[in-house]
Amino acid sequence: MKKALIYLLLTAVAVIMLYPLLWLVGASFKTNEEIFSSVWFMPKSLGTEVYKNAWDTVTPYTMGHYFINTFMIIIPKIAFAVISSILVAYGFARFDFPMKRLFYALLICGMLMPSIATVMPLYRMWSRLGLIDTYIPLTIPALFAGEGMFVFILIQFFKGIPKEFDEAARIDGCGTLKTLFFVLVPCIRPAVVSIVVFTFLWTMNDFLTPLIMIQSVEKYPLSLALRLSVDSTGQGYEQSKILAMSVIGIIPSISVFAIAQKKFISGITAGGLSG
Protein backbone atom coordinates (compact mmCIF):
# COMPACT_ATOMS: atom_id res chain seq x y z
CA MET A 1 0.00 0.00 0.00
CA LYS A 2 2.68 2.41 1.07
CA LYS A 3 4.82 1.32 -1.85
CA ALA A 4 1.95 1.95 -4.24
CA LEU A 5 1.67 5.48 -2.90
CA ILE A 6 5.37 6.11 -3.50
CA TYR A 7 5.14 4.77 -7.03
CA LEU A 8 2.12 6.96 -7.65
CA LEU A 9 3.99 10.01 -6.41
CA LEU A 10 7.10 9.20 -8.45
CA THR A 11 5.02 8.59 -11.56
CA ALA A 12 3.24 11.89 -11.12
CA VAL A 13 6.59 13.68 -10.89
CA ALA A 14 7.85 11.76 -13.93
CA VAL A 15 4.82 12.89 -15.94
CA ILE A 16 5.43 16.51 -15.00
CA MET A 17 9.07 16.13 -15.95
CA LEU A 18 8.58 14.50 -19.31
CA TYR A 19 5.26 15.83 -20.56
CA PRO A 20 6.66 19.19 -21.70
CA LEU A 21 9.20 17.39 -23.88
CA LEU A 22 6.54 15.06 -25.25
CA TRP A 23 4.36 18.08 -25.91
CA LEU A 24 7.24 19.77 -27.75
CA VAL A 25 7.65 16.82 -30.10
CA GLY A 26 3.90 16.57 -30.68
CA ALA A 27 3.41 20.30 -31.15
CA SER A 28 6.07 20.38 -33.83
CA PHE A 29 3.56 18.55 -36.07
CA LYS A 30 0.60 20.76 -35.16
CA THR A 31 -0.93 23.80 -36.81
CA ASN A 32 -0.88 27.08 -34.87
CA GLU A 33 -4.53 26.70 -34.03
CA GLU A 34 -4.03 23.17 -32.75
CA ILE A 35 -1.07 24.19 -30.58
CA PHE A 36 -3.09 26.76 -28.70
CA SER A 37 -6.30 24.76 -28.37
CA SER A 38 -5.34 21.28 -27.27
CA VAL A 39 -3.44 20.07 -24.24
CA TRP A 40 -3.02 16.54 -25.55
CA PHE A 41 0.39 16.09 -27.16
CA MET A 42 -0.70 13.87 -30.08
CA PRO A 43 -1.08 15.87 -33.28
CA LYS A 44 -4.01 15.23 -35.64
CA SER A 45 -1.68 14.33 -38.47
CA LEU A 46 1.97 13.49 -38.81
CA GLY A 47 3.53 15.22 -41.80
CA THR A 48 7.28 15.19 -42.23
CA GLU A 49 7.10 18.35 -44.32
CA VAL A 50 7.65 20.54 -41.27
CA TYR A 51 10.94 18.85 -40.45
CA LYS A 52 12.15 19.38 -44.00
CA ASN A 53 11.34 23.07 -43.61
CA ALA A 54 12.88 23.22 -40.17
CA TRP A 55 16.11 21.70 -41.49
CA ASP A 56 16.34 24.57 -43.98
CA THR A 57 15.87 27.10 -41.11
CA VAL A 58 14.91 30.73 -41.67
CA THR A 59 18.56 31.70 -42.12
CA PRO A 60 20.70 31.30 -45.25
CA TYR A 61 22.16 28.05 -43.86
CA THR A 62 20.70 24.65 -43.03
CA MET A 63 20.66 22.98 -39.62
CA GLY A 64 23.42 20.75 -40.97
CA HIS A 65 25.67 23.77 -41.31
CA TYR A 66 25.05 24.76 -37.70
CA PHE A 67 25.61 21.19 -36.53
CA ILE A 68 29.01 21.18 -38.22
CA ASN A 69 29.85 24.51 -36.57
CA THR A 70 28.84 23.14 -33.19
CA PHE A 71 30.97 20.05 -33.65
CA MET A 72 33.93 22.19 -34.72
CA ILE A 73 33.72 23.67 -31.23
CA ILE A 74 32.86 20.48 -29.35
CA ILE A 75 35.51 18.12 -30.75
CA PRO A 76 38.62 20.20 -29.96
CA LYS A 77 37.08 21.18 -26.65
CA ILE A 78 36.64 17.54 -25.65
CA ALA A 79 40.21 16.64 -26.63
CA PHE A 80 41.63 19.68 -24.80
CA ALA A 81 39.53 19.16 -21.68
CA VAL A 82 40.36 15.47 -21.36
CA ILE A 83 44.12 15.89 -21.78
CA SER A 84 44.57 18.99 -19.65
CA SER A 85 42.30 17.78 -16.85
CA ILE A 86 44.10 14.43 -16.68
CA LEU A 87 47.54 16.08 -16.42
CA VAL A 88 46.44 18.55 -13.77
CA ALA A 89 44.53 16.00 -11.70
CA TYR A 90 47.51 13.63 -11.85
CA GLY A 91 49.74 16.43 -10.56
CA PHE A 92 47.40 17.17 -7.66
CA ALA A 93 46.64 13.56 -6.78
CA ARG A 94 50.11 12.03 -6.92
CA PHE A 95 52.73 14.71 -6.35
CA ASP A 96 53.79 17.16 -3.72
CA PHE A 97 55.02 20.55 -4.83
CA PRO A 98 55.47 24.15 -3.64
CA MET A 99 52.26 26.15 -3.05
CA LYS A 100 50.10 23.10 -3.57
CA ARG A 101 47.42 24.27 -1.14
CA LEU A 102 47.23 27.68 -2.73
CA PHE A 103 46.70 26.19 -6.15
CA TYR A 104 44.14 23.77 -4.79
CA ALA A 105 42.19 26.68 -3.32
CA LEU A 106 42.42 28.44 -6.66
CA LEU A 107 41.03 25.34 -8.33
CA ILE A 108 37.96 25.46 -6.11
CA CYS A 109 37.62 29.20 -6.70
CA GLY A 110 37.68 28.64 -10.44
CA MET A 111 35.03 25.97 -10.11
CA LEU A 112 32.70 28.35 -8.33
CA MET A 113 33.44 31.31 -10.54
CA PRO A 114 30.34 32.47 -12.41
CA SER A 115 31.10 32.79 -16.10
CA ILE A 116 28.88 35.86 -16.38
CA ALA A 117 31.28 37.68 -14.04
CA THR A 118 34.32 36.99 -16.20
CA VAL A 119 32.90 37.14 -19.69
CA MET A 120 33.10 40.94 -20.17
CA PRO A 121 36.83 41.34 -19.38
CA LEU A 122 37.51 38.20 -21.41
CA TYR A 123 35.57 39.64 -24.33
CA ARG A 124 37.86 42.68 -24.22
CA MET A 125 40.93 40.44 -23.98
CA TRP A 126 39.97 38.33 -27.00
CA SER A 127 38.97 41.37 -29.01
CA ARG A 128 42.37 42.99 -28.35
CA LEU A 129 43.93 39.82 -29.71
CA GLY A 130 41.66 40.06 -32.75
CA LEU A 131 40.11 36.68 -32.02
CA ILE A 132 36.46 37.64 -31.68
CA ASP A 133 34.31 35.79 -34.20
CA THR A 134 36.62 32.78 -34.18
CA TYR A 135 36.19 29.57 -32.21
CA ILE A 136 39.37 30.21 -30.24
CA PRO A 137 37.69 31.98 -27.28
CA LEU A 138 35.30 29.02 -27.04
CA THR A 139 37.83 26.19 -27.28
CA ILE A 140 41.19 27.41 -25.94
CA PRO A 141 40.12 27.78 -22.29
CA ALA A 142 39.57 24.00 -22.24
CA LEU A 143 43.26 23.55 -22.96
CA PHE A 144 44.06 25.00 -19.54
CA ALA A 145 41.85 22.72 -17.44
CA GLY A 146 39.15 25.36 -17.56
CA GLU A 147 36.58 23.15 -15.83
CA GLY A 148 37.65 22.69 -12.24
CA MET A 149 34.97 20.08 -11.74
CA PHE A 150 36.64 17.70 -14.19
CA VAL A 151 39.93 17.96 -12.34
CA PHE A 152 38.02 17.33 -9.14
CA ILE A 153 36.33 14.18 -10.42
CA LEU A 154 39.64 12.86 -11.78
CA ILE A 155 41.50 13.53 -8.53
CA GLN A 156 38.95 11.36 -6.69
CA PHE A 157 39.40 8.60 -9.24
CA PHE A 158 43.20 8.77 -9.08
CA LYS A 159 43.06 8.56 -5.29
CA GLY A 160 41.09 5.34 -5.66
CA ILE A 161 43.99 3.66 -7.48
CA PRO A 162 46.59 2.09 -5.15
CA LYS A 163 49.95 3.86 -5.23
CA GLU A 164 51.59 0.45 -5.70
CA PHE A 165 50.52 0.63 -9.35
CA ASP A 166 52.72 3.69 -9.85
CA GLU A 167 55.61 2.14 -7.95
CA ALA A 168 55.48 -1.06 -9.94
CA ALA A 169 55.44 0.91 -13.18
CA ARG A 170 58.36 3.01 -12.00
CA ILE A 171 60.40 -0.10 -11.14
CA ASP A 172 59.67 -1.43 -14.60
CA GLY A 173 61.21 1.74 -15.98
CA CYS A 174 58.16 3.90 -16.74
CA GLY A 175 58.65 7.63 -16.37
CA THR A 176 56.07 10.01 -14.94
CA LEU A 177 54.05 10.42 -18.12
CA LYS A 178 54.34 6.81 -19.22
CA THR A 179 52.98 5.72 -15.85
CA LEU A 180 50.08 8.09 -16.27
CA PHE A 181 49.04 7.11 -19.77
CA PHE A 182 49.76 3.38 -19.75
CA VAL A 183 48.95 2.45 -16.16
CA LEU A 184 46.60 4.98 -14.60
CA VAL A 185 44.47 6.31 -17.45
CA PRO A 186 43.14 2.86 -18.36
CA CYS A 187 41.87 2.60 -14.76
CA ILE A 188 39.84 5.80 -14.89
CA ARG A 189 37.86 5.26 -18.07
CA PRO A 190 34.44 5.98 -16.49
CA ALA A 191 35.70 9.37 -15.34
CA VAL A 192 36.98 10.15 -18.82
CA VAL A 193 33.58 9.20 -20.25
CA SER A 194 31.95 11.61 -17.81
CA ILE A 195 34.22 14.42 -18.95
CA VAL A 196 33.51 13.73 -22.61
CA VAL A 197 29.75 13.65 -22.02
CA PHE A 198 29.72 16.71 -19.78
CA THR A 199 31.79 18.71 -22.26
CA PHE A 200 29.44 17.66 -25.04
CA LEU A 201 26.28 18.57 -23.13
CA TRP A 202 27.59 21.82 -21.70
CA THR A 203 28.88 22.98 -25.06
CA MET A 204 25.56 22.14 -26.70
CA ASN A 205 23.83 24.12 -23.96
CA ASP A 206 26.23 27.04 -23.80
CA PHE A 207 24.56 30.17 -25.00
CA LEU A 208 26.25 33.10 -23.30
CA THR A 209 29.81 32.56 -24.55
CA PRO A 210 28.98 32.10 -28.25
CA LEU A 211 26.46 34.95 -28.04
CA ILE A 212 29.25 37.27 -27.00
CA MET A 213 32.20 35.84 -28.92
CA ILE A 214 30.65 34.88 -32.27
CA GLN A 215 29.21 37.53 -34.52
CA SER A 216 28.73 36.26 -38.05
CA VAL A 217 25.73 34.03 -38.77
CA GLU A 218 27.92 31.78 -40.89
CA LYS A 219 29.85 30.73 -37.76
CA TYR A 220 26.87 30.41 -35.43
CA PRO A 221 26.59 27.25 -33.35
CA LEU A 222 23.18 25.62 -33.01
CA SER A 223 22.05 27.64 -29.97
CA LEU A 224 22.56 30.98 -31.68
CA ALA A 225 20.89 29.73 -34.85
CA LEU A 226 17.84 28.81 -32.80
CA ARG A 227 17.75 32.21 -31.19
CA LEU A 228 18.02 33.90 -34.56
CA SER A 229 15.13 31.86 -35.90
CA VAL A 230 12.92 32.79 -32.96
CA ASP A 231 13.83 36.46 -33.28
CA SER A 232 13.21 36.63 -37.00
CA THR A 233 9.79 35.00 -36.98
CA GLY A 234 6.86 37.01 -35.72
CA GLN A 235 3.33 36.27 -34.65
CA GLY A 236 1.12 34.37 -37.03
CA TYR A 237 4.14 32.55 -38.35
CA GLU A 238 4.07 28.77 -38.42
CA GLN A 239 5.11 28.00 -34.86
CA SER A 240 5.61 24.33 -35.64
CA LYS A 241 8.77 25.12 -37.59
CA ILE A 242 10.45 26.72 -34.57
CA LEU A 243 9.33 23.83 -32.40
CA ALA A 244 10.64 21.31 -34.94
CA MET A 245 14.00 23.12 -34.96
CA SER A 246 14.03 22.87 -31.18
CA VAL A 247 13.35 19.14 -31.38
CA ILE A 248 16.26 18.75 -33.78
CA GLY A 249 18.34 20.84 -31.39
CA ILE A 250 17.86 18.52 -28.41
CA ILE A 251 18.31 15.24 -30.28
CA PRO A 252 22.15 15.20 -30.01
CA SER A 253 22.12 15.75 -26.25
CA ILE A 254 19.45 13.14 -25.64
CA SER A 255 21.25 10.57 -27.81
CA VAL A 256 24.64 11.11 -26.19
CA PHE A 257 23.05 10.83 -22.79
CA ALA A 258 21.20 7.66 -23.79
CA ILE A 259 24.37 6.02 -25.10
CA ALA A 260 26.62 6.95 -22.20
CA GLN A 261 24.02 6.99 -19.44
CA LYS A 262 25.28 4.23 -17.18
CA LYS A 263 28.95 5.15 -17.16
CA PHE A 264 28.09 8.81 -17.05
CA ILE A 265 25.98 8.64 -13.91
CA SER A 266 28.50 6.35 -12.20
CA GLY A 267 31.15 8.91 -13.09
CA ILE A 268 29.29 11.73 -11.36
CA THR A 269 28.26 9.76 -8.33
CA ALA A 270 31.54 7.93 -7.78
CA GLY A 271 33.49 11.07 -8.51
CA GLY A 272 34.35 14.17 -6.64
CA LEU A 273 30.90 15.36 -5.83
CA SER A 274 30.03 12.60 -3.45
CA GLY A 275 33.21 12.94 -1.43
Binding site: L10, F97, L107, C109, G146, D166, R170, F207, I250, I254
Partner: protein, 290 residues
Protein backbone atom coordinates in the same frame (compact mmCIF):
# COMPACT_ATOMS: atom_id res chain seq x y z
CA UNK B 1 63.00 29.47 7.54
CA UNK B 2 61.85 25.91 7.88
CA UNK B 3 62.44 23.87 4.79
CA UNK B 4 59.47 21.85 3.71
CA UNK B 5 59.93 18.21 2.89
CA UNK B 6 58.19 17.15 -0.30
CA UNK B 7 56.81 13.65 -0.16
CA UNK B 8 57.41 12.37 -3.64
CA UNK B 9 58.58 9.04 -5.02
CA UNK B 10 62.35 8.61 -5.22
CA UNK B 11 63.86 10.45 -8.12
CA UNK B 12 60.88 12.80 -8.59
CA UNK B 13 61.65 16.47 -8.17
CA UNK B 14 59.35 18.86 -6.34
CA UNK B 15 58.81 20.60 -9.65
CA UNK B 16 57.32 17.58 -11.42
CA UNK B 17 53.91 18.26 -9.88
CA UNK B 18 54.14 21.93 -10.75
CA UNK B 19 54.96 21.07 -14.34
CA UNK B 20 51.94 18.78 -14.51
CA UNK B 21 49.56 21.41 -13.19
CA UNK B 22 51.12 24.18 -15.28
CA UNK B 23 48.19 24.24 -17.73
CA UNK B 24 45.94 25.00 -14.80
CA UNK B 25 48.27 27.72 -13.48
CA UNK B 26 48.33 29.46 -16.86
CA UNK B 27 44.56 29.06 -17.14
CA UNK B 28 43.96 30.44 -13.66
CA UNK B 29 46.02 33.52 -14.43
CA UNK B 30 44.36 34.11 -17.80
CA UNK B 31 40.76 33.21 -16.99
CA UNK B 32 40.33 33.87 -13.27
CA UNK B 33 42.90 36.35 -11.98
CA UNK B 34 43.12 38.49 -15.08
CA UNK B 35 39.33 39.01 -15.45
CA UNK B 36 39.09 39.80 -11.74
CA UNK B 37 41.71 42.53 -11.98
CA UNK B 38 40.67 43.78 -15.39
CA UNK B 39 37.01 44.15 -14.46
CA UNK B 40 38.00 46.15 -11.39
CA UNK B 41 40.22 48.45 -13.44
CA UNK B 42 37.69 48.99 -16.22
CA UNK B 43 34.78 49.21 -13.83
CA UNK B 44 35.99 51.50 -11.11
CA UNK B 45 39.00 53.47 -12.24
CA UNK B 46 38.00 54.92 -15.60
CA UNK B 47 37.78 58.46 -14.16
CA UNK B 48 40.50 57.95 -11.62
CA UNK B 49 40.41 55.94 -8.45
CA UNK B 50 37.99 57.41 -5.94
CA UNK B 51 35.47 56.35 -3.37
CA UNK B 52 33.07 58.68 -5.15
CA UNK B 53 33.21 56.60 -8.32
CA UNK B 54 32.52 53.44 -6.37
CA UNK B 55 29.63 55.03 -4.50
CA UNK B 56 28.03 56.29 -7.71
CA UNK B 57 28.04 52.81 -9.13
CA UNK B 58 26.52 51.05 -6.16
CA UNK B 59 23.81 53.67 -5.78
CA UNK B 60 22.70 53.36 -9.43
CA UNK B 61 18.98 52.57 -9.48
CA UNK B 62 19.14 50.02 -12.29
CA UNK B 63 21.89 48.08 -10.57
CA UNK B 64 20.03 48.10 -7.27
CA UNK B 65 16.83 46.95 -8.93
CA UNK B 66 18.51 44.10 -10.74
CA UNK B 67 20.39 43.03 -7.61
CA UNK B 68 17.01 42.87 -5.85
CA UNK B 69 15.57 40.73 -8.68
CA UNK B 70 18.50 38.34 -8.52
CA UNK B 71 18.28 38.01 -4.75
CA UNK B 72 14.54 37.41 -4.85
CA UNK B 73 14.98 34.83 -7.57
CA UNK B 74 17.76 33.04 -5.68
CA UNK B 75 15.88 33.05 -2.37
CA UNK B 76 12.75 31.59 -3.98
CA UNK B 77 14.45 29.06 -6.23
CA UNK B 78 17.29 27.56 -4.21
CA UNK B 79 15.36 26.29 -1.14
CA UNK B 80 12.58 24.94 -3.38
CA UNK B 81 15.04 23.13 -5.60
CA UNK B 82 16.98 21.65 -2.68
CA UNK B 83 13.78 20.48 -0.99
CA UNK B 84 12.40 18.87 -4.15
CA UNK B 85 15.68 17.22 -5.13
CA UNK B 86 16.29 15.89 -1.62
CA UNK B 87 12.69 14.69 -1.31
CA UNK B 88 12.76 12.86 -4.62
CA UNK B 89 16.21 11.41 -3.92
CA UNK B 90 14.88 10.16 -0.60
CA UNK B 91 11.96 8.41 -2.31
CA UNK B 92 14.26 6.94 -4.94
CA UNK B 93 16.52 5.58 -2.23
CA UNK B 94 13.78 3.34 -0.78
CA UNK B 95 14.99 0.21 -2.55
CA UNK B 96 12.05 -0.17 -4.85
CA UNK B 97 12.13 -1.84 -8.23
CA UNK B 98 12.51 0.14 -11.43
CA UNK B 99 14.13 3.11 -9.71
CA UNK B 100 16.66 3.46 -12.53
CA UNK B 101 13.94 4.44 -14.97
CA UNK B 102 12.63 7.15 -12.67
CA UNK B 103 16.12 8.45 -12.02
CA UNK B 104 16.73 8.77 -15.75
CA UNK B 105 13.37 10.45 -16.29
CA UNK B 106 14.09 12.99 -13.57
CA UNK B 107 17.58 13.62 -14.86
CA UNK B 108 16.71 14.29 -18.51
CA UNK B 109 15.56 17.91 -18.03
CA UNK B 110 18.87 18.65 -16.31
CA UNK B 111 21.05 17.34 -19.09
CA UNK B 112 19.21 19.65 -21.45
CA UNK B 113 19.79 22.36 -18.86
CA UNK B 114 20.29 25.68 -20.50
CA UNK B 115 19.78 24.25 -23.99
CA UNK B 116 18.14 26.97 -25.95
CA UNK B 117 15.62 24.56 -27.44
CA UNK B 118 14.26 23.83 -23.98
CA UNK B 119 14.07 27.51 -23.16
CA UNK B 120 12.10 28.11 -26.36
CA UNK B 121 9.79 25.26 -25.38
CA UNK B 122 9.27 26.83 -21.98
CA UNK B 123 8.44 30.14 -23.59
CA UNK B 124 5.68 28.45 -25.59
CA UNK B 125 4.26 26.63 -22.58
CA UNK B 126 3.52 29.90 -20.81
CA UNK B 127 2.11 31.99 -23.67
CA UNK B 128 -1.43 33.30 -23.10
CA UNK B 129 -3.04 30.36 -24.91
CA UNK B 130 -0.23 27.97 -24.08
CA UNK B 131 -0.33 24.57 -22.45
CA UNK B 132 -0.11 25.84 -18.86
CA UNK B 133 -3.02 28.25 -19.23
CA UNK B 134 -5.09 25.64 -21.05
CA UNK B 135 -4.51 23.26 -18.14
CA UNK B 136 -5.38 25.96 -15.61
CA UNK B 137 -8.64 26.63 -17.43
CA UNK B 138 -9.45 22.91 -17.60
CA UNK B 139 -8.92 22.76 -13.85
CA UNK B 140 -11.47 25.54 -13.45
CA UNK B 141 -8.91 28.17 -12.52
CA UNK B 142 -8.14 31.51 -14.11
CA UNK B 143 -5.52 31.69 -16.81
CA UNK B 144 -2.55 33.79 -15.76
CA UNK B 145 -1.02 36.56 -17.82
CA UNK B 146 2.45 35.11 -17.34
CA UNK B 147 4.32 37.71 -19.36
CA UNK B 148 2.30 40.68 -18.16
CA UNK B 149 2.55 40.24 -14.42
CA UNK B 150 6.01 40.98 -12.92
CA UNK B 151 5.74 38.28 -10.24
CA UNK B 152 4.40 35.66 -12.64
CA UNK B 153 7.17 36.37 -15.13
CA UNK B 154 9.88 35.69 -12.56
CA UNK B 155 8.01 32.57 -11.56
CA UNK B 156 8.23 31.18 -15.12
CA UNK B 157 12.00 31.16 -14.76
CA UNK B 158 11.84 29.73 -11.25
CA UNK B 159 9.67 26.89 -12.59
CA UNK B 160 12.06 26.22 -15.47
CA UNK B 161 15.02 25.86 -13.15
CA UNK B 162 12.99 23.88 -10.63
CA UNK B 163 12.07 21.49 -13.43
CA UNK B 164 15.79 20.89 -13.80
CA UNK B 165 16.31 19.58 -10.26
CA UNK B 166 17.92 16.36 -11.54
CA UNK B 167 21.57 17.31 -11.15
CA UNK B 168 21.12 18.16 -7.47
CA UNK B 169 19.05 14.98 -7.04
CA UNK B 170 21.78 12.73 -8.46
CA UNK B 171 24.29 14.17 -6.00
CA UNK B 172 21.87 13.68 -3.08
CA UNK B 173 21.10 10.15 -4.18
CA UNK B 174 24.78 9.19 -4.16
CA UNK B 175 25.13 10.65 -0.67
CA UNK B 176 22.06 8.82 0.64
CA UNK B 177 23.43 5.53 -0.68
CA UNK B 178 26.61 6.09 1.34
CA UNK B 179 24.80 6.27 4.69
CA UNK B 180 25.47 2.98 6.52
CA UNK B 181 22.33 0.91 7.11
CA UNK B 182 23.42 0.20 10.67
CA UNK B 183 22.74 3.82 11.62
CA UNK B 184 19.08 3.44 10.68
CA UNK B 185 18.85 0.10 12.43
CA UNK B 186 20.33 1.56 15.59
CA UNK B 187 17.97 4.52 15.43
CA UNK B 188 15.00 2.17 15.03
CA UNK B 189 16.08 0.18 18.07
CA UNK B 190 16.15 3.47 19.97
CA UNK B 191 12.55 4.02 18.93
CA UNK B 192 12.93 6.54 16.10
CA UNK B 193 9.98 7.00 13.77
CA UNK B 194 10.45 7.58 10.05
CA UNK B 195 10.32 11.34 10.34
CA UNK B 196 12.64 11.39 13.31
CA UNK B 197 15.05 9.13 11.44
CA UNK B 198 15.08 11.54 8.53
CA UNK B 199 15.92 14.55 10.65
CA UNK B 200 18.22 12.88 13.17
CA UNK B 201 20.08 10.41 10.96
CA UNK B 202 19.75 11.31 7.29
CA UNK B 203 20.18 15.09 7.46
CA UNK B 204 23.25 15.11 9.74
CA UNK B 205 24.88 12.40 7.62
CA UNK B 206 24.55 14.34 4.40
CA UNK B 207 24.98 17.88 5.64
CA UNK B 208 28.20 18.35 3.70
CA UNK B 209 26.42 17.38 0.52
CA UNK B 210 23.51 19.69 1.30
CA UNK B 211 26.08 22.43 1.69
CA UNK B 212 27.75 21.60 -1.64
CA UNK B 213 24.40 21.60 -3.42
CA UNK B 214 23.43 24.83 -1.71
CA UNK B 215 26.58 26.52 -3.01
CA UNK B 216 26.32 25.09 -6.53
CA UNK B 217 22.66 26.06 -6.86
CA UNK B 218 23.15 29.52 -5.37
CA UNK B 219 25.93 30.30 -7.79
CA UNK B 220 23.93 28.97 -10.72
CA UNK B 221 20.94 31.08 -9.68
CA UNK B 222 22.94 34.25 -9.24
CA UNK B 223 24.35 34.06 -12.76
CA UNK B 224 21.03 33.33 -14.46
CA UNK B 225 21.13 34.82 -17.92
CA UNK B 226 19.82 32.76 -20.80
CA UNK B 227 16.30 32.12 -19.49
CA UNK B 228 15.41 35.77 -18.82
CA UNK B 229 17.19 36.75 -22.02
CA UNK B 230 15.13 34.41 -24.19
CA UNK B 231 11.85 34.07 -22.31
CA UNK B 232 11.05 37.47 -20.84
CA UNK B 233 13.82 39.73 -22.13
CA UNK B 234 14.14 41.17 -18.64
CA UNK B 235 10.55 42.37 -18.55
CA UNK B 236 7.90 43.22 -17.62
CA UNK B 237 9.07 46.41 -15.87
CA UNK B 238 12.52 44.97 -15.28
CA UNK B 239 11.07 42.28 -13.02
CA UNK B 240 13.28 39.60 -14.57
CA UNK B 241 16.34 41.71 -15.29
CA UNK B 242 18.81 39.59 -13.37
CA UNK B 243 22.34 40.78 -12.77
CA UNK B 244 23.45 38.61 -15.69
CA UNK B 245 20.96 40.36 -17.98
CA UNK B 246 22.07 43.75 -16.69
CA UNK B 247 25.74 43.05 -17.43
CA UNK B 248 24.86 41.97 -20.95
CA UNK B 249 22.56 44.94 -21.60
CA UNK B 250 25.03 47.51 -20.28
CA UNK B 251 27.78 46.11 -22.48
CA UNK B 252 26.05 45.28 -25.73
CA UNK B 253 22.92 47.43 -25.76
CA UNK B 254 24.00 50.61 -23.99
CA UNK B 255 27.70 50.23 -24.77
CA UNK B 256 28.64 51.09 -21.21
CA UNK B 257 31.67 48.90 -20.67
CA UNK B 258 32.54 50.56 -17.36
CA UNK B 259 29.23 49.68 -15.71
CA UNK B 260 29.23 46.18 -17.18
CA UNK B 261 32.65 45.51 -15.68
CA UNK B 262 31.84 47.13 -12.37
CA UNK B 263 28.74 44.96 -11.98
CA UNK B 264 30.71 41.86 -13.00
CA UNK B 265 33.29 42.60 -10.36
CA UNK B 266 30.67 43.24 -7.67
CA UNK B 267 28.89 39.98 -8.54
CA UNK B 268 32.19 38.16 -8.29
CA UNK B 269 32.92 39.60 -4.84
CA UNK B 270 29.35 39.13 -3.68
CA UNK B 271 29.31 35.45 -4.59
CA UNK B 272 32.64 34.95 -2.84
CA UNK B 273 31.18 36.63 0.25
CA UNK B 274 28.02 34.51 0.16
CA UNK B 275 30.04 31.31 -0.07
CA UNK B 276 32.25 32.39 2.80
CA UNK B 277 29.23 33.32 4.90
CA UNK B 278 27.42 30.06 4.27
CA UNK B 279 30.60 28.23 5.09
CA UNK B 280 30.83 30.05 8.40
CA UNK B 281 27.15 29.88 9.34
CA UNK B 282 26.76 26.19 8.67
CA UNK B 283 29.99 25.51 10.52
CA UNK B 284 30.90 22.87 7.99
CA UNK B 285 34.51 22.43 7.15
CA UNK B 286 36.41 19.47 5.87
CA UNK B 287 38.85 19.62 8.76
CA UNK B 288 36.26 19.61 11.53
CA UNK B 289 34.59 16.59 10.02
CA UNK B 290 37.74 14.54 10.32
Amino acid sequence: MKTRIYRNPVGVSKYTGLALISPFIIGAVLFIIYPFIASFITGFTSDGISVENFRNIISDGRIKASAAVTLKYTIILVPLKLAVSLGVAFLLNMELKGIGIYRTAFYIPSILGANLAVIIMWQYLFTSGGLVNQLLEKAGLFPVSWYGDPDAALFIIVLLRLWEFGSAMVIFLAALRDIPRELYDAAKVDGCGRLRCFFSVTIPQIKNIIFINLILQTIAAMQEFSAPYMITNGGPLGSTRTVGMLIYEEMFIYGDEGTANAVSWLLFVFIAAVIFLMYRLTGISGRKQK
